[in-house]
């Protein structure tokens, strides 16, 4: 049965304990490294010390994170917590998709990679119809044209563009 303390807790139960434990552990570890990672400068006031703000922030993280853990109405990691942690892990897959996109753009080029990436990820998400394929391609093309062609955001030309003939090469490097 849910206790009074549990029912008044803001947010879901699953994963809270794991998050609080990891947060506190990392905060304590970082605080333990403060002597090694920051410097104490002689003949300098406390408030101007380079160590002052890391100490305040990490101290706050340890204190408030510890109090949060202490005030949690649960003391044991349940199977729902572990299931939730696995769900967090699933987001890694899309993190990897994103990183693959990041590493391929400087090699193959913004336009070609985007034209492949968007329909491929849409397919991975279960959109297999011809309509969605065209929508994905249209979206990919418009993103490249809008941001690189019109707004001229800083995305460098790819290595592959170097092999293109003269004017086409400079056009691709500048706009696509």
């Amino acid at each position: 049965m849910t206790t009074e303390r549990e029912s008044r807790f803001v947010g879901p139960r699953r994963g809270q304990l794991i998050f609080a434990l990891v947060f506190l552990t990392l905060s304590v570890l970082l605080l333990a490294l403060i002597g090694e990672q920051t410097t104490w400068v002689k003949k300098t006031k406390l408030f101007a010390q380079p160590r002052f703000w890391p100490a305040i922030s990490l101290g706050g993280m340890v204190l408030l994170g510890g109090l949060h853990l202490y005030r949690l109405p649960w003391r044991r990691v349940s199977r729902y917590d572990l299931k939730e942690a696995r769900h967090w892990g699933q987001s890694l897959e899309y993190g990897l998709w994103f990183m693959a996109y990041v590493f391929l753009v400087p090699l193959v080029g913004y336009l070609p990679v985007t034209l492949v990436f968007v329909p491929l990820l849409a397919r991975r998400m279960g959109y297999r119809s011809r309509l969605m394929l065209w929508v994905s391609l249209g979206f990919a093309l418009s993103v490249v044209v809008l941001f690189k062609g019109l707004l001229s955001v800083k995305i460098p030309g790819a290595l592959l563009y170097e092999y293109l003939p003269g004017t086409l090469r400079s056009f691709f490097i500048l706009y696509l």
Partner: protein
Amino acid sequence: MDMIFSALEILMRWDVALALLAGSVGGVLIGAIPGVGPAVAIAILLPATFSMDPIVGLTVLLGIYGSSMYGGAIPAILINTPGTAVNALTTYDGYPMTARGEPRRALSLAYSASFFGGVFSVICLILFAPVLAKVAPMFGSREIFLAALLGLILVVVAHRGQALMAGALACFGIFLNSIGMEPVKYTQRYTFEQDFLGGGVNLIVVVLGLFALSQAFVLLLDEDEKVHLTKLRGGMFQGLRELARHPRVTAVSASFGVLMGMVPGVGEFTAQFMSYTYAQKSSKRPQDFGNGSSEGLIAAETANNAVPAAAMVPLLALGIPGEALTAMMLSVFYVHNVVPGPALFQNDMDFVVALYLALLILNVLVLIFLLFATRHLIQVVRIPNRFLGVCILTLSFVGVYSLRNSATDCIMAAGFGILGFILKRLSLPAVPIILGMVLGGIMEVKLRAGMARVKEPWDMINRPIAFIIFTIIILVLASHFLRVWKERKELKEAEWQTKTASTSFGRLLSRRKNSFLKDRGKEVRARHSKLLRRLKDLF
């Protein structure tokens, strides 16, 4: 009057006009798509605006900020799903109106209320600007430090029931800001001898990770929902007439929006809560609230749209952002070497008024657009969730990579994206991290400068404004602790009602000790030990 003309001169450019149009239409579209929201859009567009003039870049971002709430009302009213987080209260009365066959009335009322809120706040602030220009120079280093501290404390205590974790996350933000080369003594802080950490953690990378990438992960791991749209019947102008019948609720809600918007860290939710409560208490039909009350809808929509203009006050006058969106806008100022603060009000007042006039024009543009284009616009809610996730992931790349063309930034953004995803799953706030980063930097610089002229601790608050802010900090903290103490007392009472024994182990032991020392306790113990002895003798 001269100031207004010179402000209009700043706005009389084709690129500003285009920015106004793009910001207003784009903001409405972004607001109308549940799951995107202005924070995601601003985070993605931020690096793209760096190459623009400050007025153009800020107009686009301000346009998205100001008009997204108009758009957010559409799905809130038609499909009971708020387009942006601040439209959650709109669903209370908007959707019941749709359910009883009045979607057009609800939409037109929401647009009219939003328009009034937006215009009212801009006019208030234009009139208020000369006063601000006089007050702002009174803020020195100490006052700005205390105001930033107040903003941070307000953000933390605003998260009811989660204040401890919100505080810890704000401290995490301050810690992130302290990473890298320290600019005064040139020492390294938490760089672990890694070159990429030497320059510190970039705010935009964190913002993109926590807001855009995390939202992409949420959508990609979510299920698509089937949306049933109601057909729109009737005129769109009836809301304007209906709004005129509730002048008191409209004016009070807009005033709450302006006041709450100006206080750092408070924002739309508190303004909405206060105006909705006021409207319900003062209404002749309070039982209608939550069941399709026009007054409830007016209160919610007027209050939230009055906030964006007011939220620019602490940013422009003191350089202190009160929430995540204005914190993002602060980086646009920094990129162009425009330092918001008292000096901006003294030297570039026309720039400030130009921004407000841009917001005014924006509200008119949005209203016109919505009155004529709602029928077609509502189709955007049909975009499937997971495809939206694909779109946000693709657009996030532009935001992060165009910043410095650094893959390391992208790895960090992905890391913060996963952190933001976890925070969203746990219903924990990400905003304190951003404000901790921004306000932590301001506090570090201002405290160092302020303490250089301070001999005794009392000198820190010996000026009138510093003393007032310090008193407010004490009052805010005292009221927060009082509330926590009351909640704890209520919890104890509730626990005592459901339990017979003490809930505290220490008290349980102390009660047993007292029981042993009393005569009756001694009698019981003697009887028990006698029984135990007899039992032992048996074996």
